[in-house]
Assembly symmetry: C2
Homo-oligomer: 332 residues x 2
């Protein structure tokens, strides 16, 4: 019996979300659709240029555990904030969902991480992330007891950006496996895959990771191919237990060895903001997976959660997803 369905580990970030147009992205030199790391001075410059914004707790892995708990699961989170106003907002938002979150905040500089997310009229989001206090995440922040008590420990590929987080991940993965648990990761972003391709492949081939989440662009980047079938074939060989590849409105694909299954997305009449789409897909899929559901039902939960999140502004659900009729039809 596990205390938590899911422990996630990631960059603890507050999102600063504003609507803009494509012309602004071009003028400001922002890579559309990507997550770009920026330093403190670029963060200040960009903030001064962008329009009025809404602040919401974010961070990929934080969003995923928030979504899983919103779907009725149980969760824990590791991630580093600073002891400042944004850090207190981040901690409040995740703890108030009943998620166990006790990572010691940093005192002093750098401040809590923030991502300036610019949403264009097509609903696409372009993220500009100042990592701030996240660079201090280290093995000292891994609470062995929580890792051992979690069915699945899930982390972001983004954690390869700060300097010592990968050591925390390797330690957590060992604790999880020693306790008979599973380890999952998301490849996070195709540019992130380009930065750490060899290391991500090694995480899979060394069986440090059992389950891999990726979108199509990330899967293609991982194997430097333009042919999805080829990437799926490699994933079947490299993923210890399971790979799940999302394809936006075309649904998702699960890969286990040579077994490939495709599942549909939900129809979303109006895409408002794609922020959190992949994160919430993982919430839904893992909610099903950790409850012992088959891939079809897990994929359906993933599609529902992703469809919900792209119909609103911001990366975390503002109403409990477990109360949605289509979720209750699956989880009871």
């Amino acid at each position: 019996m596990a205390d938590y369905d899911l422990l996630t580990i990631g960059n603890a970030i507050v999102d600063i979300i504003a609507r803009t147009d494509d012309a602004f992205l071009r003028e400001a030199g922002i890579e559309k659709g990507a997550m770009t790391l920026i330093d403190a001075s670029r963060a200040e410059d960009l903030y001064a240029r962008m329009g009025p914004a809404t602040e919401m707790s974010g961070g990929s892995a934080g969003n995923t555990v928030a979504g899983l708990v919103s779907l009725g699961g149980t969760g824990a989170y590791f991630g580093k904030v600073c002891d400042d106003q944004l850090g207190r907002i981040f901690a409040h938002d995740i703890q108030s969902l009943g998620i166990r979150y006790e990572t010691t905040p940093l005192v002093g500089e750098p401040p809590t991480a923030r991502s300036m997310i610019l949403v264009t009229p097509d609903g696409e989001r372009s993220m500009n992330t100042y990592l701030g206090a996240c660079v201090e995440l280290s093995p000292a922040d891994v609470v062995a007891e929580i890792v051992a008590a979690s069915r699945v420990t899930y982390f972001e590929g983004y954690l390869w950006d700060p300097p010592r987080a990968k050591d925390a991940i390797l330690q957590a993965a060992k604790i999880a496996h020693d306790a008979g648990r599973e380890v999952a990761m998301t490849l996070s972003d195709s540019f992130c895959v380009h930065r750490y391709r060899a290391e991500f492949l090694d995480l899979m081939r060394s069986r440090t990771v059992d389950i891999v989440f990726a979108n199509e662009a990330e899967a293609l980047a991982l194997y430097q191919t333009e042919i999805l079938e080829e990437a799926l074939h490699h994933l079947g060989q490299d993923a210890g237990r399971l790979a799940v590849v999302t394809r936006g409105p075309d649904g998702c694909v699960t890969v286990e060895g040579s077994t490939i299954q495709a599942f549909p997305a939900t129809f979303v009449p109006h895409v408002v903001d794609t922020t959190g789409a992949g994160d919430l897909f993982a919430s839904g899929f893992l909610r099903g997976y950790t409850a012992g559901l088959d891939h079809a039902r897990s994929a359906r939960l993933g599609a529902i959660a992703a469809g919900h999140i792209i119909s609103q502004i911001g990366p975390r659900p503002q109403v409990p997803l477990a109360a949605l009729p289509e979720v209750r039809a699956i989880l009871g």
Copy 2:
């Protein structure tokens, strides 16, 4: 020729907005639909009990000038924040709209004001405001040159809560009148009217204020009556130039002496969050008024802006209102 259509003066607040249910309001002892002032320890207690939230710049008068500028007008703002992360968010959001905002932030304690706004499924909002740095607003924050350069100076009745803001208002009103400008106020909230009824009446009767905005409950509270016609009659005698009384889905009424005119609201298919409804009505009405439009068209702009804001979460428009076809039909 004025440099600014509208200068507003108010409590500079960051809103912390969360959805909840009526049971939570009862358990937490929150007065539904009202603005309740809370101290630092109640603020901490309530924040610890409430769910995950979204942060957006707010404050009634700040929302009104933000709405007016979103409708294509020009504006300035006075209001006190602390030099902390929430204060920088407030300043960013208002300045990035092109609003002139230069009030010197407080260094040290108390922190920037925040209002915990709980939105129930019926769309009603209940506000719990910790005034923080707002208590430091004083006559030293009144920039005479900006007051003299603004067609209308508009302030919140809420400013009677902090200790020295009223002195700032009296000073600003004198500068405005000496420059041949007009002064407007909103009665803010019926509980606020109960607190400062005699003073608000005196502001009108002494001709410190030329234009008064109120909703029906506030107008009734001001004259301690349950009969709207009676309150409107008194307003016609007391308001120096004009009173505008909003009635939610029943539209609004303008009162000038014995002349009373009624105008309709817009139809809002689904009320999401009423936060900012009155503030944005004032934005629209004053956008028309300062552009020299008749009351019918000003009231229509008010209704459009209010209808827009209650169809979204949060008190400030997330898209430029001037681009809405129904606004362009009026303003060109």
